[in-house]
């Protein structure tokens, strides 16, 4: 526990010291989303800095999940969904018709609210992605990817003796980490998380949060969460959404001790509606 705190502290100090702000990995410019006649996002412009955790907060229906799902075109699957504005990944328009959506989703992975492992073995859950994307040359390399991904998701030691048992047989927290391992297995650059801990108990939540903290060394993370405390704990930047608009975005520390916008303050202090 002490070691963990020390490492976090060191990381926090390094973050502060590095004068160079992180490069922008993804960028939303004037993003609008319509579901049929209903407009869900009204021109949101938000930068997602590289190798940082960006938290999206706001009351239900504020558009935070809609924005998250636009980042890897998950909204494409929704009937009648129309997207305007521009979203880029490394300065490349992800809504460009030439973009291969499958490849995009490999680069921008996603973890959902409820753990949703495939009804397959633990091994197969993780191996599936690398296999369909042709990332492993042979069985040996595939084994390596699976082990590495499970290790990165801090799950390997717990499941190494039962890799060929069903993934659905794991506990909720383990299942969620399995889903994270599955997302990592295809070497994404960005990981989107939609309330990844809302179905987990505090211990499993702490493990996932610790994992998020480790993952940001290598990945850019965007997380939607309803827990203010979680946003405060895991993220470096926080964006506050309300009624389909971006209200405020800033350093997480600032957002939770002295936000500039009254709507942010009212929301995070529990004074909303």
């Amino acid at each position: 526990m002490n070691l963990m705190t020390e490492r976090n502290l060191e990381k926090a100090v390094n973050d502060k010291m590095s004068a160079q702000p992180n490069a922008i990995k993804m960028q939303g410019k004037d993003v609008t989303v319509h579901y049929g006649d209903k407009q869900a996002l009204f021109g949101v412009s938000l930068d997602v800095p590289e190798k940082m955790v960006t938290a999206l907060i706001g009351p239900s229906g504020c558009g935070k999940s809609t924005f998250l799902r636009s980042l890897n075109r998950m909204n494409d699957t929704i009937e009648g969904c129309k997207i305007g504005g521009k979203i880029t990944l490394d300065d490349e328009d992800i809504y460009n018709p030439k973009i291969d959506v499958v490849e995009l989703r490999a680069r921008v992975g996603m973890v959902f609210q409820k753990p949703n492992p495939f009804p397959k073995s633990i091994f197969e859950n993780v191996a599936y992605g690398p296999r369909i994307h042709g990332l492993a040359k042979g069985r040996h390399e595939l084994d390596e990817i699976v082990e590495k991904s499970l290790r990165r998701a801090s799950l390997f030691d717990e499941v190494k003796d039962r890799l060929h048992e069903a993934g659905t047989g794991l506990s909720g927290g383990q299942q969620q980490r399995l889903c994270i391992a599955r997302a990592i297995a295809v070497s994404p650059e960005v990981i989107l998380m939609d309330e990844p801990c809302s179905a987990l108990d505090p211990i499993a939540t702490a493990k996932v949060e610790e994992l998020i903290d480790e993952l940001r060394e290598n990945y850019t993370i965007v997380i939607v969460t309803h827990s203010m405390q979680q946003a405060a704990r895991v993220s470096q930047r926080t964006a506050m959404f309300h009624l389909g608009n971006l209200v405020e975005v800033g350093d997480t520390e600032m957002m939770f001790t002295s936000p500039t916008e009254k709507r942010t303050q009212d929301y995070i202090t529990g004074r909303f509606g």
């Binding site: 939770f256 002295s258 936000p259 942010t264 303050q265 995070i268 202090t269 529990g270 004074r271």
Partner: protein, 241 residues
């Protein structure tokens, strides 16, 4: 400052309790200092005793605020303005408790000074500095009640006057001691009283800074020119003759 109510009503009640308790402690601290100085000036031993025993009320107040504030932090995990408010009350109550201690300390010296009854002029300086410190305390408590940043700046800048007054009182008491060694014991006590009052001014300034933090979320710059020059004062042989 018009804050909306919390969705959870009892949270508002808990925060309000802290604010009320600070106001209560503040009023009590003011009264203690006022009475301690009055007891000193009028050689009123009974009043001094009352001040000494009243200090327990402030101590209890501070403990109550600490407990309630910690409960709120544990139970509600306050954020933003609420967090600053809760942390602010912990700090302010500790300043008020210290002010009470300083008042008590003045009251404790009443007996010793009374035994060697001094001429009225000796007390005049003490009264002046005490009045100023009490104004500071009153204004800073108003600033807390009204969340006024303007008032905070006024209080903070006026602390220099107390420091300057303390320096001149220091010289004055030194002069009395040099004039007649029989004054030394009483004047030394009065010097401590003056120092205590100067410290009360500092606590008022601390509270002002806390109020500023509660309201704005940012800290005032740490440096403030100090007018207290007493640490450099020495008895000048030439003034003696």
């Amino acid at each position: 400052m018009t804050e909306l109510q919390h969705t959870v009503r009892s949270y508002d009640d808990e925060l309000k309790f802290l604010t009320h308790k600070i106001a209560e402690m503040g009023g009590h601290a003011e009264r203690m200092v006022e009475q301690a100085v009055a007891a000193m000036v009028n050689s009123d031993n009974a009043l001094a005793q009352r001040v000494i025993s009243d200090d327990l009320i402030l101590d209890a107040g501070q403990r109550e605020i600490d407990e309630k504030a910690i409960t709120i932090i544990g139970k509600r995990q306050p954020m933003a303005i609420d967090l600053r408010e809760v942390i602010g009350t912990i700090r302010i109550s500790s300043d008020l408790e210290r002010i009470g201690d300083l008042g008590k300390n003045i009251a404790k010296r009443v007996v010793a000074v009374t035994d060697t009854r001094q001429t009225l002029s000796v007390y005049r300086g003490l009264q002046t500095i005490a009045e100023l410190a009490l104004t500071q305390l009153k204004d800073v408590l108003d600033a807390y009640a009204t969340r006024s940043v303007q008032q905070v700046n006024i209080v903070r800048e006026r602390d220099d006057e107390i420091d300057a007054l303390y320096t001149s009182l220091f010289r004055e008491l030194l002069t009395y001691m040099m004039e007649d060694p029989r004054n030394i014991s009483a004047c030394t006590h009065l010097l401590f009283c003056a120092k205590n009052i100067e410290r009360i001014g500092d606590h008022a300034t601390n509270i002002a800074e806390t109020v500023y933090y509660i309201v704005t979320g940012s800290q005032l710059p740490a440096e403030r020119p100090k007018e207290d020059q007493t640490h450099t004062i020495i008895v000048d042989e030439t003034t003696e003759s």
